[in-house]
Assembly symmetry: C2
Homo-oligomer: 328 residues x 2
């Protein structure tokens, strides 16, 4: 008996083919697998590419697969309609069970088997969930870049842009972020504060044009600059990261209800620094009530969920075997 777990993200998709024991037989990668962000055709292509790579690595076939779990944001599989993925899978010989699950639940299951625990995901976006009996019973944030994602990569990146804009505008303190952000936006640092049109600093007009020429969510790409500047002792950068850690801690408190493992994933909480440090301090990690596990993706968890859908009573040994079989 074989199962496939799929972690379908907004930019890339990962798939793992595994045995009932949790042995990883093959893995694959594809493009975006999220129909909300990529559209149905591209998303189906992203998932199928990853699935077929995983199968090919083991010389296996879709007809041999008992269950597939596709984990994705929203996990409502295109508003409840599953044919966008079910149909092409059936056409390729799949006769098993296809289920959609939350990417946040898959992330949790990638790091913990305990029926009660927490998932903290902080990459471009940010959310914290409490898991109980294998499902999400409470969610904090995950409200998107415009109205939420407190402490996320977007949140941090937007504050980096703001720090540069505010210094040039004359309403914020000097910060090492300003030249870093100007450079990242392709604006000459030299003479940026010189006189430009309508009595505005030259670099400010250019920076604004460069930042508005991209999609808002791309501000998240500035987040690594804040880590760099904070490591170099910049007070503004340090304050941004401290605040991000506080906000994530606040989101944790919104769903906190007893002890349990905390599974963390995403670029912001994976990177050592003030965000992670604040959050760990807040969780009393030292007391052991909230043991922290860091995971790379939700693909192991999606595979654990697929095993469950196939009726396998999964345990720690399945997860350990799966994780040891994943590419680094």
């Amino acid at each position: 008996m074989l199962v496939i777990g799929v972690d379908a993200g907004g930019t890339s998709t990962r798939a793992v083919l595994a045995t009932a024991e949790g042995r990883c037989l093959g893995h694959g990668r594809g493009g975006s697998g999220n129909p909300t962000s990529a559209g149905i055709a591209l998303a189906a292509d992203g998932v199928l590419t990853a699935v077929q790579q995983a199968l090919a690595a083991a010389g296996a076939d879709l007809a041999d697969v008992t269950a597939i779990v596709a984990a994705m944001a929203g996990h409502d599989s295109n508003g409840g309609a599953t044919p966008w993925l079910a149909d092409p899978l059936t056409q390729r010989g799949f006769r098993g069970t296809l289920a959609f699950e939350s990417d946040l639940l898959a992330m949790y299951c990638s790091g913990a088997v305990a029926p009660v625990g927490y998932g903290v995901v902080c990459g471009t976006g940010a959310s914290v969930v409490r898991v109980q009996d294998g499902r999400i019973v409470a969610t904090a944030d995950g409200l998107g870049w415009l109205l939420g994602d407190r402490g996320s990569g977007f949140w941090i990146g937007r504050r980096a842009a703001h720090a540069a804009v505010d210094e040039l505008e004359g309403i914020g303190p000097g910060t090492a972020l300003t030249p870093l952000v100007l450079e990242a936006a392709g604006v000459p640092v030299e003479g940026a504060d010189g006189p430009g049109r309508d009595g505005r600093p030259r670099g400010l007009g250019r920076l604004i044009r460069a930042l508005y020429a991209q999609r808002p969510v791309q501000l998240a790409e500035l987040a690594p600059l804040v880590f760099t500047a904070a490591e170099d002792g910049d007070a503004v950068a340090r304050a941004i990261l401290d605040r991000a850690g506080e906000l994530l801690s606040g989101s944790f408190d919104l769903v906190r209800d007893g002890s349990g493992p905390v599974v963390m994933g995403g670029s912001i909480v994976s990177r050592p620094g003030p965000v992670q440090a604040r959050l760990r301090a807040h969780l009393d990690v030292a007391e052991g009530r909230y043991p922290v596990v860091t995971v790379e993706s939700g693909v192991a968890g999606a595979t654990m969920l697929a095993l469950r859908h196939a009726g396998v009573p999964v345990g720690e040994e399945h997860l350990a075997l799966l994780r040891s079989g994943l590419p680094g």
Copy 2:
């Protein structure tokens, strides 16, 4: 001798045909006249429609017109290239001077003739400029919805959305804004705080989906709700408007340099309430150092600038005559 002033906005365009004395012979309206937001073809159509209506009202012809001033945001006429508007005007018989000016300068000139003064524009966006010798010498804000426009309609509307989201999320106080925002977004108020998917309040998921389905800048449409709630005594709404007034006052201070008339335009500063009150208190209007004039649009100012381009030494009497001739 005749001139035409054009106020080319992002959603609509106004044009006025006037004599050398400032007598308004005709006026017209068209769609968006801004090539940055609407594209060259639509923008040219918006301006030409308004111009031809103004001419038709007086039975005049483009060949009779000495100067046209088109005022628009950015006022760089499509990155310095003017043919998008100059060519179709020439094809229709125009032989005079075409000049592009800042919409902010036109707004100022719609309310004041003094060579030194201030323009405060606060509608969807927000900026404050200092005018000296007929040109803008200092600019505060105008940095757009994502990184600036402090105290603007967008700023206020986004905070209204946040107030509703934060109450439902459990991190903000109760506010009359929540039902108002839910209603505006088409989300049932009844049962909004009941349990929804993944342990999130039902109304929160719906509200988020509704707000992200529109363009971010449309959050500005929520601003009037904040005025309504503040008038009804809601403390959260009142605090948002107070803060908006403080931020606009801060922007004013960035360009403040001596006394002069303050010309205000835009839906947020035109509407009586805490924003206008804070700003007026900050400006020491009572001392008379900053006499405030409120204007509807920049079309009178664009026409004043056209008269200047035609070599007319304009004065208060021209502006008074122009304003009295405009439709209400």
